[in-house]
Symmetry: C2
Subunit: 401 residues, 2 copies
């Protein structure tokens, strides 16, 4: 008998039929002799509908009241799923985040989990029943409701799996697993049977959007075995774990990220600490910088070029333009029509062939590379946005075709 | 400075404009220097929508899961109202039933309040802010959510007013107060400026449907001064208190109740204890009996006729028909086409003129009386349902016209 945590997203419980579909998966797992804890998100568009209600009233709601509002979404779906389990003859009980012991800090809308107090979870599981937990939510020490931010239900599921030392944490989605590229872009994309945490982290941060990064980090930290699989098609998914099967292909995937803009600070003084000043200004506003390129100009000045998330671009340019005098820069320019395309796989950096194969594929597709970044397990290039899908296909064909 | 509890029903917070209307009433009360606790119901049709979602899944949901589901409704409205108060510059904080200290028993769907632990309520009020509490809900000792049943938000408001010794508990509705008859039926119906708890209880149980009976009972028990008034039209409403102004009219109102059926058990043995057997059978199933008539038949048998709520009629007839042999009855008959019409006012029983005036009014309208019941403060008659509105008008004209 194993302890399995199963997480279902909003589209998986969007209506009556979907809820019964989920209930059957859960009941089958329980009937096979496993202890099952289920984590669910709010139904379909519920969260967006609640946000719209709030926006009708104010554009600047308090974080505490937004959390109070949004927590109602999962409360509805856990109750409905328990009713469906009851209809299938499977005993079940629902627990809100606070009832399931999710103690967080008081950062409303993006709370961090301090601990999961599993006392009640264990007591309810001990009654030979499925426990259905509201994802995304917790409670802070002041007894106020909190939410964990986007993708929070994945994090809830992994946190329970970690706290209860579950044998497996299954993340059910609307895709069958993790693919070597987005199947909507690359026809030949293949489903991976296994992937390592670090590879998954790179893919997630590169825009693969299968798993929330925070949940993968948490799974890595507590060594929780994850499986990404489909709630609609009952086939094995992709296992995410510490070390993936070393045989087979080194390249795990090709990802594109179009939520990226490049910013160039032109003509700064060529003196020590200038780059530090630029980036610490952005760090103070919690703007993450990704690819960085520094070039020496003809006249003894430097150009610093880097990328940020497109959603941060406006603020970043404003801050830098205000402070332009502090680094003696001439100009701040930006470009939103860029995309980042990356290959991910353990051991990439120690294999020179990967970079050359990637650059050759882009060259043959007549795609210009603007910036390059490498890490132990990935190589990323910045290209024009219009070339992104062509680049993903060319690179995928070169490595995995 | 007074402490005022204000309760707003679902239609009062049904949409953005209504929510701001409520927020203005609350903010004005707060700005006038009062401490204000607000109790709100779920928005408009939210509760019915949630019930419909549950019924799509099962016709027999567990009470615990229904309470989990329904509590989401008030959670949404308290958050939205706090956001609107914020927009108006009025500091406010929302509290769920359990956060506001509502400890109940564990009878899901119809929980009884054991106590209101006002510690947090008082602490939040102490921060010079409005406290907005989710009506209808509480928590039992097992840390599970509970709901108080229909009209529960009125009860929540009165319970807070009682626990905090509030100076006034205002129940805002879509009518301006308590009338001498339903203004939709009787054109000349007048708004009462005051009414006694006992009179209000009779009117509520007779179908006046302005205030939930349980909340009036609670207000009477703890001597909470109530005011029923309109959230849309800012004029003084009706005060409900221990002893209403003794001057003025003795008759406080004329009410009709069409949720009533009569049942006749015909030809039972004329022996002691037969009536007791009939009514104890119904009491075991928690079916309340109202008007009762016992008549001796020609052949040494008796007929027992009584009324029940229409919603209980089917079950009552089934139970009695099954047990017909136990009282040697010949037949069980019923009639759903009946209505109960009543006059209410303190001192009615000691004034013989009231009964005769009422019966005369019905006689002159050619309305046949089937059953009569009197108490210290009311006289009720059972008539044909089709005559109900005519009867209310005739009686109102005779006493209050």
């Amino acid at each position: 008998m194993a302890l399995i945590v199963q997480k279902f997203g909003g589209s998986s419980v969007a209506n009556r039929d979907r809820i019964f579909n989920v209930a059957r998966i859960v009941a089958n797992t329980h009937n096979a002799g496993n202890d099952v804890v289920v984590v669910v998100s709010a139904q379909g568009d519920t969260t967006d509908d609640l946000i719209a209600k709030a926006q009708e009233i104010t554009h600047d709601p308090s974080g505490r009241e937004m959390d109070m509002l949004l927590c109602a979404g999962e409360q509805i779906s856990i109750a409905l799923l328990c009713m469906a389990l009851g209809e299938l003859g499977c005993k079940a009980i629902s627990l809100l985040g606070w009832q399931a012991g999710f103690i967080t800090d008081s950062s409303h809308q993006k709370a961090r989990i301090r601990k999961v107090d599993t006392e009640r979870l264990e007591a309810e599981l001990g009654k030979n029943q499925v426990v259905v937990v509201a994802g995304f939510q917790g409670i802070c020490r002041a007894d106020d409701l909190t939410t964990l931010g986007r993708g929070g239900s994945d994090t809830s599921a992994v946190a329970i799996a970690a706290a209860m030392k579950a044998d497996l944490c299954q993340i059910y989605t609307d895709v069958e697993g993790v693919y070597t590229a987005d199947p909507r872009i690359v026809k030949k994309a293949k489903k991976l049977s296994e992937i390592a945490f670090d590879e998954m982290l790179e893919l997630a941060s590169l825009g693969a959007q299968v798993l929330n990064n925070r949940s993968v980090e948490l799974a890595k930290k507590y060594n929780v075995k994850l499986e990404v699989l489909s709630s609609l098609n009952p086939v094995p998914g992709t296992i995410v774990k510490e070390v993936a099967n070393m045989e087979g292909m080194m390249i795990k995937g090709v990802a594109k990220d179009t939520n990226v803009s490049s910013i160039a600070v032109l003509g700064v003084h060529d003196q020590p600490g200038i780059a530090f000043k630029v980036f610490s200004l952005l760090a103070q506003r919690k703007i993450n910088v990704d690819l960085i390129l520094q070039s020496v100009g003809r006249d003894g000045t430097k150009d610093i070029t880097f990328t940020v998330a497109s959603t941060d671009r406006r603020q970043a340019v404003e801050i830098l333009t205000e402070s332009i005098g502090r680094f003696g820069a001439k100009k701040v320019e930006y470009d939103d029509d860029v995309a980042k395309v990356s290959v991910v796989g353990a051991g990439i950096q120690s294999n020179a062939n990967v970079a050359s194969t990637m650059f050759e594929a882009l060259y043959e597709s007549n795609i210009n590379i603007r910036m390059i970044s490498t890490s132990e397990i990935k190589i990323s290039v910045l290209i024009e946005k219009k070339d992104a899908d062509k680049a993903v296909n060319a690179i995928h064909e070169a490595f995995l075709g």
